[in-house]
Symmetry: C2
Subunit: 149 residues, 2 copies
């Protein structure tokens, strides 16, 4: 008679799987905010958010910070330029790289979106107690640190 071995892997509790579904769902929900208003996708939003906070910054550094492939950054920057959101100045210390920053229009979009995005994250977390939020945050920090090794 065949006995069913206990499954060595319970998918519904498997962290990588759960994280992926969660990240995808959160990203999709958030994207509604910026896609509806400005017609931009995830990579463009990411670049915009980086520029809002860190400009002037090079494409390289955006990629390094956000773990985006350099071609993805390059194309997102291109699209944002096309939209008139981003301006590039050539660096005077290294003529390969360009210092990116926001135009007035890009700044306006950022100033519109950033608080909405922050609200979104707040609402998402508002079921959790402060302690749970801290626990989640610190767990993410530790996992990220572990991956970096």
């Amino acid at each position: 008679m065949s006995t069913r071995r206990p499954s060595p892997l319970d998918l519904d509790r498997f962290l990588p799987y759960r994280l992926d579904i969660l990240a995808e769902g959160v990203s999709r929900a958030l994207s509604r905010i910026y896609y509806e208003r400005y017609g931009i996708g995830v990579p463009e939003w990411r670049v915009l958010a980086h520029l809002g906070q860190y400009a002037p910054i090079t494409a390289r550094d955006i990629g390094a910070r956000s773990r985006m492939h350099k071609t993805k950054v390059s194309r997102a920057v291109g699209e944002l330029e096309r939209l008139g959101f981003v301006r590039r100045m050539e660096s005077d210390t290294d003529r390969r790289e360009a210092l990116l920053s926001l135009t007035a229009k890009g700044r306006a979009a950022y100033d519109d979106l950033a608080p909405r995005a922050a609200d979104f994250a707040r609402q998402l977390l508002d079921d959790l107690t402060t302690a749970e939020q801290r626990a989640l945050d610190s767990a993410i920090d530790r996992l990220l640190a572990k991956l970096a090794r």
Copy 2:
């Protein structure tokens, strides 16, 4: 004189962004395990894992459980069939759908991979205290539940 407004959005603490980077990093690290051994990618691995645990199951149900688009499931199943990992039986209650299950070869791959995947997740989490692990798990549950609404 211009004063810098406090940023309304601190990216390094922004949950959607952090989740995305974490999920991507975890997935990439895990994928080494199954890619190196069987040359399969994320969608194929996901389908394999579902079949290992829930077979016989339809492609539709795999998609519903794992939030994969039906075309992605369809192609992953096709690839797993090509590899000789998956067999399809037609359902006798509904001839549109196919009941998928693993061949001996597919089962062997699953039995090889599943414990490795489980180990991977355990190692990933072994820095965290049990309390932290539970907090993380419950936070993910709540966020997923919130998204589902």
